[in-house]
């Protein structure tokens, strides 16, 4: 950590979802507890980074987690700005956390770039016996909304790498296919709920 290695892209990815679903755990797994080795270096760094190789490119993933900061209003309001990917996490054993997914999506699309790559993540599959959200149900929902989907276990490290890497690969794909060049917003299918406010759909008006 802290070395300025050469990279081709920096992608900001945010973790969202109800508290207690294991967002920080996923992050901690993915960044391999790097802050673990030297606490001092992480003081003041609000995100964790990990560099990954994807089809010959070096991609630096900056993963933002609101760990401990949820009550700072202004801090969380700028959280989505500049994010090109999001992991929307729920707990497969707590149906309420899944029901709130729609609310999180709305907030995300209101404040983030409309082209943002979103993955719906059902965490805690190590607790299969307590499952209350069927895989198929979440999968169908994700498909309908145009989201990527994966189930993970941060505890057992199942699918954690895959979840982050798939999101990064999808972002990279969008970037290289120039799908997201200004004015081509129709190339990305958008959540219908957002059509109510057409102004919000214009990508570069979003944050100004």
């Amino acid at each position: 950590m802290g070395s300025d290695e050469a990279y081709n892209f920096v992608f900001k990815v945010v973790l969202i979802g109800e508290s207690g679903v294991g967002k920080s755990n996923l992050l901690s797994r993915f960044t391999k507890n790097e802050f673990n080795h030297d606490t001092r270096t992480t003081i003041g760094v609000e995100f964790s980074t990990r560099t990954v190789q994807l089809s010959g490119f070096t991609i630096k993933a900056q993963i933002w987690d609101t760990a401990g900061l949820e009550r700072y209003r202004a801090i969380t309001s700028a959280y989505y700005r500049g994010a090109v990917g999001a992991l929307l996490v729920y707990d497969i054993t707590k149906h309420l956390t899944y029901e709130s997914v729609e609310r999180w999506l709305k907030e995300l699309y209101e404040h983030a770039d409309p082209h943002i790559v979103v993955m719906l993540v059902g965490n805690k599959i190590d607790l299969e016996s307590e499952r209350s959200v069927p895989t198929e149900e979440a999968k169908d929902f994700a498909e309908k909304k145009g989201l990527l989907f994966l189930e993970t276990s941060a505890l057992e490290s199942t699918n954690v790498e895959a979840a982050f890497n798939n999101v990064l690969a999808e972002i990279h794909k969008k970037v290289s296919s120039k799908q997201v060049v200004r004015g081509s917003i129709n190339a990305v299918s958008l959540n219908t709920s957002r059509a109510e406010n057409t102004e919000e759909n214009k990508p570069c008006c979003r944050n100004i």
């Binding site: 990279y7 081709n8 003041g44 760990a67 900061l69 500049g82």
Partner: protein, 458 residues
């Protein structure tokens, strides 16, 4: 003749030793042999220093009983053990259990003198009463019993004043405050920049010194959202309410009917408060709060206003880094972090940190390290790591006594009495002031910014 100390690391991890109910980490350390009279002569004569290897044991994990035994065994204890234990014990046991287990006067004395917040349990003060009772039963504890009784008296006496403090924090989520006349009488532009920063620092440091470090631990603070824990960590929440009040004050001062040029002057003034004065006063809480307000959705989108903001100051570069970290290299970020005082390495005056940094680190530590290790032993290494952070907080709290700031009732009233806006309200006000326009080529767009990132990185 010069002597060279050995170049290799004098400390070496050697392994672990397991005993009944405890795991010790063993390190080997090379230390110079203290010169006895004979050896001293030898070493001056031959120019060498004798080293010997010292085996250092560090308690890594143990049962509660074993931890307490270790506490009572100063001979075999690592120097910080008692402090780590007292700072963090409520993460793995309760105060009353500990009272039952403790029998050693020096530990109880340190507890009463330096960690008395553990006994702050109004209105009944059960633990303190229990401790008084325990101490009274034994002769050797007579003096300590007096200390405890005095603490109980002063706690009860200060209960009234602390009650009024608890009502004081203006928690915005509980909302519902309206503006007072004070706000209308004074305008932000009339107040001297220095005095605004001084009042902010006075308010911030007052709240920060009251923070109970233990409340910042992940196991306490990360429970904050669960309904039944709503009253947890009031001292931490008070600092956050103040932080939110400052951001709100900045936002409301900007979202009143005015021209872009007028708003630009207000932004410049707030930046002067933050960048020049708060920074001088090492008040990183308000500094961060003001910058966050300027980045909030409602203010950030005021394009005409920002266009009228003077570019002379270098703060724009800093704002750019804060707003678009994906544009900047890691070094930039570290620079800004150091600049913002997130890693205050040296300080001669008072420092008020942005507590959020510590809350994040402690939440992540709590996430990454388990509470117990194999065999259900308490993971004391985790507590040691947390203690490092808690002691930094304590150190900064001590530094706050070096502030001596005058009270300015007008500015304080102006800072505290104001209309509270929700994010939605401020966003709507902002759109009334500067209605959204068509897509414009100069606007920051995260996708196009990647090209810049590329340029910076390669």
């Amino acid at each position: 003749m010069t002597l060279h100390s050995p170049s290799q690391d004098p400390v070496q991890e050697w392994g672990e030793e397991e005993e009944d109910g405890a795991v010790f980490g063993i390190t080997l350390r090379r230390e110079p042999v203290p010169p006895s009279s004979d050896a001293a002569e030898l070493s001056t004569a031959f120019g060498f220093v004798q080293y010997h290897t010292v085996k250092v044991r560090r308690l890594k994990a143990a049962t509660l009983e074993r931890l307490v035994t270790h506490l009572l065994d100063p001979k075999h204890q690592e120097p910080d053990f008692i402090r780590v234990f007292l700072s963090t014990h409520r993460a793995f046991t309760s105060t009353s259990t500990l009272i039952e287990l403790l029998t050693l006067p020096p530990v109880i004395r340190l507890w009463l003198e330096e960690y008395s917040e553990d006994f702050h349990e109004p209105p009944q003060y059960e633990s303190l009463r229990l401790l008084c009772m325990h101490l009274r039963h034994r002769l050797c504890f007579r003096r300590l019993a007096q200390t405890a009784a005095t603490l109980l008296k002063s706690e009860s006496a200060s209960q009234h004043s602390s009650e009024s403090l608890q009502q004081e924090p203006r928690d915005q989520e509980d909302g519902g405050e309206t503006s007072t006349k004070e706000e209308d009488k004074h305008s932000f532009m009339d107040f001297p920049v220095r005095e605004i920063a001084e009042q902010l620092t006075r308010l911030d440091s007052d709240l920060f010194v009251r923070v109970v470090p233990f409340h910042c631990l992940g196991c306490v603070w990360s429970q904050r959202d669960k309904k039944e824990n709503r009253n947890l960590a009031p001292t931490v929440r008070a600092t956050i309410s103040q932080f939110n009040a400052v951001t709100n004050r900045v936002i409301t001062s900007l979202l009143c009917p005015s021209s872009p040029a007028q708003r630009a002057r207000i932004i410049e003034r707030w930046i002067a408060v933050a960048q020049v004065r708060c920074r001088q006063l090492k008040n990183f809480s308000s500094l961060r709060a003001i910058l966050s307000a300027l980045q909030s959705n409602a203010v950030y989108r005021l394009k005409k206003t920002w266009a009228a903001v003077s570019r002379s100051a270098n703060y724009l570069n800093m704002l750019r880094i804060l707003c678009f970290p994906q544009w900047s290299s890691h070094t930039d970020y570290q620079h800004v972090n150091t600049w913002l005082g997130f890693c205050p390495q040296s300080f001669s005056g008072g420092v008020v940190p942005y507590l959020g940094t510590y809350l994040t680190v402690l939440t992540m530590l709590d996430t990454a390290l388990t509470d117990t290790v194999e065999g259900g032993l308490i993971n004391f290494e985790k507590r040691r790591r947390e203690f490092e952070i808690l002691s930094q907080i304590r150190q900064l709290q001590t530094s706050c006594s070096r502030y001596s700031l005058p009270v300015n009732p007008h500015i304080t009233a102006w800072l505290q009495a104001h209309t509270l806006l929700t994010d939605q309200e401020s966003y709507e006000l902002s759109r009334d002031l500067e209605p959204p326009v068509d897509p414009c080529p100069t606007s920051p767009n995260s996708w196009s910014s990647r090209l810049l990132t590329k340029k910076l990185a390669l």
